[in-house]
């Protein structure tokens, strides 16, 4: 089939892809930290969604449903990767005592390498904080939905988010 003329097979699935592909690709890109892996992951996630569309019950939104598939997929990839490589980023306890100004804004003077700085910062965070920040950054998700997706209470999300913000701010400053 000619790639340029390839069409998604159902209008419902095409709508699903059009509406959520950016969110899923961005999550995969920043969670996995590799554009090629992110492309493969986004393809695989939507293909799984296509196969499972008849299982969607409407109890959750399409957004949270496809996010759940994506999170599981990315976690599996991370686990496979960590199984073969030395795990280097610090665990949560390291960030309990981190010093960072959470009341002052993050300043960006040079936008050219902003993506690299963001990726470096996220890579140095524990997986849990990275995922939390990426999900909370999606304005279409409520704290309750983020809590559901990460299997914890909304209060726990708020607590961890505070520490994740501090850790991100401290690390981001160091990438300047």
């Amino acid at each position: 089939m000619d790639r340029a003329h390839a069409r998604l097979p159902s209008s419902e699935f095409a709508d699903l892809y059009a509406e959520h592909s950016r969110a899923i690709y961005y999550l995969a890109l920043r969670f996995l930290g590799d554009p090629e892996k992110a492309q493969d992951a986004t393809h695989d996630v939507f293909l799984k969604a296509f196969r499972k569309m008849d299982q969607f019950r409407g109890e959750a939104s399409w957004r949270t449903w496809i996010y759940r598939i994506a999170i599981n997929h990315c976690r599996n990839l991370q686990q496979a990767w960590h199984g073969r490589h030395v795990f280097s980023n610090a665990d949560e306890s390291t960030w309990e005592t981190v010093e960072a100004r959470t009341d002052s804004p993050l300043r960006v003077l040079e936008t050219k390498e902003l993506g690299e700085r963001i990726q470096k910062t996220l890579d140095a965070l524990p997986d849990e904080y990275r995922l939390l920040l990426l999900l909370v950054a999606d304005e279409e998700l409520s704290y309750e939905q983020v809590a559901e997706l990460t299997d914890q209470t909304p209060d726990a999300v708020r607590g961890k988010l505070h520490r994740a913000r501090k850790a991100f701010a401290a690390l981001f400053e160091r990438t300047a």
Binding site: Y17, L29, L47
Partner: protein, 74 residues
């Protein structure tokens, strides 16, 4: 000579002003989420994903309507 010096000073000043005008203003983000949101908006999803997906899905049977959709007619 004096006139030439004055000219080069004006030229230098003009270049500095132009450079200042060309430099992008610093951006500020109140929270990391705001920064990530900005980053997400700048991110372009590669078109190759959709093309690959169309190829992969073409070999599969079309998705059945879910039971709750059949039930509620959605």
């Amino acid at each position: 000579m004096k006139q030439q010096k004055k000219f080069s000073q004006q030229e230098e000043q003009h270049q500095q002003t132009a450079a200042q005008q060309a430099a992008p203003a610093p951006m500020e983000f109140e929270t990391p989420e705001e920064l990530l949101r900005h980053d997400a908006q700048q991110t372009v999803v590669p078109a190759t994903i959709e093309a690959r997906l169309a190829e992969s899905a073409a070999d599969l049977p079309p998705p059945a309507r879910s039971w709750w959709r059949r039930l509620f007619g959605k």
